[in-house]
Amino acid sequence: MSIHIFARAYCVASHCLLAAALLAPTAAVAQTDYFNTDRGRPLQTQDALAIERYALELQAAPLRWSRAAGPHVVWAVEPELAYGILPRTQLEIGLPFYFTDGFDAGSRGGIGAVHLSVMHVLNVETLGFPAMALEAGVAIPAGRFGASDLYTTLGAIATRTMAVGRVHVNAEFTQGNGIAATDRRWEESRSAGLEELSRWKAGVAVDRALPLRSMLLGAELVASRSMRDGADVDWNTAAGVRWQLAPQWAVDGGIGRSFGDSREWSLTVGAAWSFGLIHLIPLNR
């Protein structure tokens, strides 16, 4: 598959998500989205905040570039739509697209596993308790870059405000079959999708807001173990920024580094659009 096919597929999917948003002529906005972090935007460790009830948030163009030691380069884009379906509860669906280069088969592109998840915030932060949330997700096999099995993930999130800023702790565990280290997919471009899976992952992040600039600076340290049987713990660190560009738009960017065997560098940039659909809000019409 050439990069053109990849681009076309991504374009179609993006337009589908955008169309869902644009169908309604009545778009409004969440207030300060930059302060409510999302997984991967730009850090893997997120806060224990859900989007407001009835809000929709479209991660329109979250792009991630990574390059491991060696020739492998991976571009990933995962458009994602989140919806505040219940108080302190959000649903999310995402569909990743990958384009790889430097593997034996040359340039390849395609989609990975469909991600469905729900996050429920148990409580908001007070002087007595940190904010705490539970998250459950499922990765559904969909394209050549995804795993062939279904994987379910359960996670917990806590956020506590301290003098240094907000501290977030995330931990998650994935249920599903491990993938043998000898599986040939690890040597192919398809490994780009498999690398996204981890048996477990735990991270801690600190962020600090510049409120008058509507900007959030953050850094994290994440440990994870791959689904590859016998894999070592991989340590990653990253830093990033989220910035409220306009009432409806927040942008983000980040840089990451893996300390594992791959010695991978990664860059990410994205934009999130918040809006509402009057038809999703129960009113006494």
Binding site: A202, V204, P211
Partner: protein, 448 residues
């Protein structure tokens, strides 16, 4: 399957995060909600960007105030009265933020003290902004405006756990509590700044309603903003002397949308209440969250310290618009001259209590009659505009003490009698009868 070594570490970190917490820690599940999507969203921002940006700066003022009072309770007063005030008035209000601010980022400690109150304020501020959008939307007819306002207010009230009551509340709730007045006495300048914020926040509604064309609206909004800036020239003397009330500062808005007007008066009162709770030493720190939540509950319910609509309007007018920052429409060329002391307390009167609401309540004094008469005269020939003043006047005159004063004060009675032609024909006779002095009693002859 591999074990999860990170789990123990995560548990340890989470435990550490919670271990240092005070014993009185409390669980909060307050939740936020998106605001009502509509075609008028963000119209005010587009049509009146200067005023819109000011409101972003106002968010900062409220947040930093609460943060300072809570986080540094024994800190020098100059931090707020001088340092923060200077930053806000010389920098922030001069070049306001272009986006709404995140209060939790400005006031991280206060936000954790009472997240319920924080979300209540945010929900009411969203209502503010949605109403500005509606009234600034030149595409809407008058009837469409009314319909949209009703829709947005209904949406706001669909969250009873967050919404301020649409029934007006007595000043006793704000000024008659053990902690009352603590903030305004200790921080008169910052308190005046907050009242100036509230003056503009409610006053802009009448500026938007008074304009019949986009240009007129812009001119009126700009005039209101200019008047607000003039309040900052000589603080606190140039600022409102008492809390601006919507019925006085925005009488037309109050007449058309009384529910929204009452909501905003309750919102602004609770801003003052929280300032007092945080500023007073009479409420120990361990009780402040509980007091804030109690006040929040009292401002949400429809029973505590409820006023009749007439009494509320009468009280607002009776307090004197000149003491509340002056009128927004037809702004004075020079700042009004207040007739009360800075931070004066409103007088209360149990006669204004809503008999259907229960609890005690406040009321205005007889000089309110004079001010009501003045407002009634200025309302012109518009029967609808006169109605709230007429109702308030009747309500006041039902008070025997007020009536007695009118009877013995011939000049006041003369003023009121001159208003008789402005009364609705069906009430005119009753009105004149109320003002008629009682027949003189025959003198008792002394018996030898």
């Amino acid at each position: 399957m591999n074990a999860f070594p990170g789990g123990r570490a995560a548990a340890a970190i989470t435990l550490a995060l919670t271990a240092a917490l005070p014993a009185a820690a409390q669980w909060s599940t307050v939740s936020e909600q998106f605001y009502l999507p509509a075609s008028h969203n963000w119209v005010f921002r587009a049509e009146h960007p200067a005023a819109d940006r000011l409101f972003n700066a106002f968010d900062y003022g409220h947040a930093i105030l609460y943060e300072e009072l809570w986080a540094r309770p024994r800190g020098p007063k100059e931090v707020l009265e001088r340092d923060h005030y200077a930053f806000i008035t010389r920098k922030l209000l001069v070049n306001p933020p272009r986006l709404p601010l995140e209060e939790a980022a400005i006031a991280p400690q206060y936000s954790r003290l009472a997240p319920e109150a924080k979300v209540m304020f945010e929900w009411a501020h969203l209502l503010h902004r949605q109403l500005y959008d509606i009234l600034a939307d030149n595409r809407l007819s008058e009837s469409q405006r009314d319909e949209q306002v009703a829709r947005v207010v209904a949406y706001y009230r669909s969250r009873p756990d967050l919404a301020f009551s649409a029934r007006p509340k007595s000043m006793n709730l704000m000024e008659g509590q053990p902690y009352s007045l603590a903030f305004r006495k200790a921080y008169p300048k910052f308190n005046g700044l907050i009242w100036a914020y509230h003056w503009l926040q409610v006053g802009l509604y009448d500026a938007l309603l008074a304009g019949s064309t986009p240009d007129e609206r812009s001119a009126l909004v700009n005039g209101a903003v200019a008047r607000f800036r003039a309040m900052l020239i000589d603080p606190p003397r140039s600022m409102p002397y008492i809390m601006p009330m919507t019925a006085a500062v925005a009488p037309e808005f109050t007449r058309r949308y009384p529910d929204a007007a009452a909501i905003f008066d309750n919102l602004h009162s609770m801003h003052d209440v929280i300032s007092d709770i945080l500023a007073t030493e009479d409420v120990p720190r361990s009780r402040k969250r509980a007091e804030i939540l109690l006040a929040a509950q009292q401002y949400r319910d429809d029973t505590t310290e409820v006023l009749t609509r007439e009494a509320w309007i009468g009280m607002a007018i009776g307090m004197g618009i000149e003491n509340q920052g002056g009128p927004v429409v037809g702004s004075l060329a020079v700042p009004p001259t207040p007739t009360v002391e800075l931070g004066a307390v409103m007088r209360h009167d149990a006669s204004a209590v809503d008999p259907h609401a229960g609890h005690a309540m406040p009321m205005p004094a007889t000089d309110s009659v004079t001010r009501l008469a003045d407002s009634l005269t200025r309302a012109g020939s518009d029967q609808a505009a006169r109605e709230p003043f007429v109702n308030a006047l009747f309500r006041l005159l039902e008070d025997p003490a007020v009536l007695q004063r009118v009877v013995v004060d011939s000049s006041l009675r003369r003023v009121l009698l001159d208003l008789a032609p402005l009364m609705p024909p069906e009430h005119r006779g009753h009105y004149e009868a109320m003002l008629r002095p009682p027949p003189a009693r025959p003198e008792r002859r002394s018996t030898p």
